[in-house]
Symmetry: C2
Subunit: 294 residues, 2 copies
C-alpha cells in the first residue's frame, strides 16, 4: 500500500474509533455531547493516531489494539485545542476551517468540552485491551498522563503563555515546544510501541525519533504560520507574530528555519536506522510533516 492510501486508511480507522468513543449527540446532556463531537470529528490530520499505528506496526501490534491508544491521544490533543482557543488563552476564532468550539457554542460549554474530552481519553485507555497485560496498560496510562500534564503538554502551554513578548533563545523555545507539542507526539509513538510489547531500548530510540518529529512539526508550523494564508491553514494565519509570540521564524528567519527542519528530519530518519524496513511508515511520516511546507 502506498503512503497516501495507508494514511487515508488509518485516518478512517481513527475517525471511526473516535466516532464510536464519543457519546451520541442525542444522549443527555445532549448539547455538551454535540459540542464534544463538533470539536473532535471531521477534521485534523490525525498525526498522533498515524504515529501510534506506525510505531505499533513495527512491533507487530494488531491494529485493533492500537485504536484505543490512538483515540486516547487524539482526544487529549482535541481537548487542548478547545481550551487553547478560548478567549483567556490564545483567543482564536477559527480551528480546522470552522468556528472554534467556544464560538460555535459558548465559553462555558467549551470549557466543559475540553474537560470531558480529557476524561474520555483516560476512560478509553482504561478499558481492557485484549493483547496487552493489565500491568502494561497501567504503564500506558501513566505515560499518557505524564505527557499531558503540568510537566508535559499543559506545562508547555503555561510556558508558552509566559513567553509572550519575551526574547527567547532557541534553547528556551525548544524547551517550550518539547513540552507543549513534543510530549504528546512522543506519547503517541510510545503507546503504539507498548501495544507491540516493545523492549526498553527500542522505546528509547523511538522516543528520540518522536522528539525530533515533535520539534520538526513545530518548526514547520511556524513556517506555515508565517507564509500561508488563513484559507490554506484552516486557522488564523500570522497569529503568532501578531500576538508577539516567539517562533522559529522570528528567531531564525524562514530560510534558517527551513534548514533546521531539514536537519531535524535527518535526525529523525537516523533514529530509526536499526528498525530497518519495518519503520517505513515512520520514515514516510517524517517526510510528510516536512513536505507540508516545501
Amino acid at each position: 500500500m502506498d503512503f497516501p492510501s495507508w494514511m487515508a486508511s488509518i485516518q478512517q480507522r481513527a475517525e471511526s474509533a473516535l466516532e464510536a468513543t464519543l457519546p451520541g449527540a442525542d444522549i443527555a446532556p445532549a448539547r455538551l455531547h454535540q459540542a464534544m463531537r463538533y470539536a473532535v470529528l471531521g477534521g485534523g490530520k490525525r498525526i498522533r493516531p498515524l504515529l501510534c499505528h506506525a510505531a505499533g506496526s513495527i512491533f507487530g501490534a494488531p491494529a485493533e489494539d492500537l485504536d484505543a491508544p490512538a483515540a486516547a491521544v487524539e482526544l487529549i490533543h482535541a481537548y487542548s485545542l478547545v481550551h487553547d482557543d478560548m478567549p483567556c488563552m490564545d483567543d482564536d476564532d477559527m480551528r480546522r476551517g470552522k468556528p472554534s468550539c467556544h464560538v460555535a457554542y459558548d465559553e462555558a460549554t467549551a470549557l466543559l468540552v475540553g474537560d470531558a474530552l480529557q476524561t474520555l481519553a483516560f476512560q478509553k485507555l482504561a478499558a481492557r485491551l485484549p493483547g496487552v497485560s493489565a500491568a502494561r496498560q497501567l504503564e500506558m496510562l501513566a505515560l499518557l498522563a505524564t505527557a499531558s500534564g503540568s510537566r508535559g503538554m499543559a506545562g508547555g502551554q503555561a510556558i508558552d503563555l509566559a513567553s509572550v513578548g519575551l526574547q527567547l533563545d532557541i534553547g528556551a523555545l525548544e524547551f517550550m515546544h518539547i513540552h507543549k507539542t513534543g510530549a504528546l507526539i512522543r506519547a503517541a509513538a510510545l503507546l503504539g510501541a507498548h501495544c507491540g510489547k516493545a523492549p526498553p531500548e527500542a522505546l528509547e530510540r523511538l522516543g528520540h525519533y518522536a522528539n525530533r518529529i515533535g520539534l520538526l512539526f513545530q518548526v514547520v508550523d511556524d513556517i506555515l504560520d508565517a507564509e500561508a494564508s488563513s484559507e490554506t491553514l484552516g486557522k488564523t494565519a500570522g497569529k503568532d507574530a501578531a500576538q508577539n509570540k516567539p517562533t522559529y521564524v522570528n528567531i531564525l528567519g524562514v530560510k534558517e528555519a527551513k534548514f533546521l527542519a531539514g536537519n531535524l528530519r535527518q535526525e529523525a530518519h537516523d533514529a530509526l536506522s536499526s528498525f530497518g524496513a519495518s519503520a517505513s511508515r515512520l520514515h514516510e511520516l517524517a517526510d510528510f510533516i516536512v513536505d507540508r511546507t516545501f
Copy 2:
C-alpha cells in the same frame, strides 16, 4: 478513636498525600505549580478522601493503599472547583475563604490548573498500588473517569448551566445533582471499597449509600447557601438565588428541605445495615454532613 479525631487524622493523611503528589512550587513551570498547590492545599473538608478511607476500612484495605485513590478523587474535585469558579462558568471570586484561583492568578492559569489537576488525578491512580491487582486498578480508573466525565460530574455541570432561570421539578434537580456532585462522591466510596476487594453486592449497597449521601450533601449545601453568611461559608453566600439557579430551598422551602435531608440521612443509614459495626465511620459521616446545618 472518636469521630473528630479520626476525621482529623484522615484529613491530615489526605493533605500529606496531596502535598506529596503535587509538583513542588519551584519546579518549572513554577507559576503553574504554585497555582495548582494554591488550589488544592490547605482547605476543604476532604469529604471524598474521608469517604474513601471509611469505605475501604470496611473491607480491610490498608490505609496506605487508600491514599492514592483518595488523593485522585480530591484532585478531580479540586479541578472542578477551579473551573466552576471561572467567569464563563459560575463566576465566583471566593473559594474556601480565599480568592478563587483565577482571581489570585489569572484566567489562563486557572484553566491550565484545572486541566493539569485532572491529569494528575489519573496519573496518581495509574501508579501501581501494592495491594490491588492491575486488572482491578484499571477498573478503578474506569470508574473514576466515568464518574468525572460528560455522563458524570462534567455532564452535571452542563445540566446545571442549562438550568439557570428554568423551573425544575424535584426529579430534574435530583438528576442534575446525581451527576454534578453525586457521581464523584459515589466514586470516592467505591474506590475505597475496591482497594479492599469488596464483592459486587457490597459495592452495590455502598453505591446506594453514597448516592443518598451525595444528594444529602447538596440539600444541606442549598440550605447553607440560603441561611449562612459568606464568612461562615468561605464562599459567596446567596449566590445560587442571585443567579436564579434552581435549589432545593427554592423548590421546597427551608423547612421541607430539612425534612428531605432527614429522610436521606435515614436512607443512607439503612443502606449500611448489613455491614454492621465496620461501617461506623460511614454512619458518622452521614450524620456529620447533616449536622453542618442543624
